[in-house]
């Protein structure tokens, strides 16, 4: 059974702190995606990771992929309030995307 599991499901962090969101997936997929969703809005693509060891950074967010461990991480550096949103990882396998349950992030001043 295909599974994409994220943890934590809920994350409350103070501004300026660092934290990591984890995404474990169950297949041998070598493509992993991260999306952001603001309340009442659609999903916005953040990162596309296409190979083992891939690392991508945009602003305070950095995503990495370890296909051997079937693990992707989304690291948040010096969080700011604007990063408050729900973050989803999704694996691509068999021509489909499978989404994780999401991590709801709240950054507190």
């Amino acid at each position: 059974e295909l599974k994409v599991e994220q943890n934590p499901l809920f994350l409350s962090m103070q501004e300026g702190k660092n934290y990591t969101i984890y995404c474990n997936y169950s297949t041998t997929s070598d493509r992993l995606y991260w999306y952001r969703q603001d309340p009442g809005k659609s999903l916005e693509s953040l990162f596309v990771l296409l190979s083992n060891g891939a690392v991508k950074q945009e602003g305070r967010l950095m995503a990495s992929l370890d296909t051997k461990a079937r693990l992707s991480t989304l690291h948040i550096t010096a969080a700011v309030h604007d990063l408050s949103a729900t973050y989803f990882c999704a694996e691509h396998t068999g021509n489909q995307f499978y989404f994780g349950t999401g991590t709801s992030l709240t950054v507190i001043p």
């Binding site: 995606y33 809005k41 659609s42 693509s45 596309v48 021509n95 489909q96």
Partner: protein, 116 residues
């Protein structure tokens, strides 16, 4: 570049009624997806089209849900009759044909359905 367009944005219906959602993908995107997102969960694929052919509809409750993509562009998702558990956001998404390096899917803003 215009994004994925969906309508209506919000719909409230009574159980056993019917509803239809419309989607216009990004120009040139051959692949179109319908996802169901229940509050607090990740999106779940209902159906995937490549041009006007169905690639995967294994998770579509075919006794009440139907979808079509005439002429390989716009798509319509219909629910008839609706149940309370169908209350969700219905997300349409599109992408280039699969295989392009770095390809990703682009989502519309969703159609919010409440069944009462």
């Amino acid at each position: 570049e215009a994004g994925v367009a969906q309508s209506p944005r919000y719909k409230i219906i009574e159980k056993r009624q019917s509803v239809a959602f419309w989607c216009n993908p990004i120009s040139g995107h051959a692949t179109l997806y319908w996802y169901q997102q229940i509050l607090g969960q990740g999106p779940k694929l209902l159906i995937q089209f490549q041009n006007n052919g169905v690639v995967d509809d294994s998770q579509l409750p075919k006794d009440r849900f139907s979808a079509e993509r005439l002429k390989g562009v716009d798509s319509t998702l219909k629910i008839q009759p609706a149940k309370l558990e169908d209350s969700a956001v219905y997300l349409c998404a599109s992408s280039l044909p699969w295989g392009a390096a770095g390809n990703t899917i682009y989502f519309g803003e969703g159609s919010w359905l409440t069944v009462v």
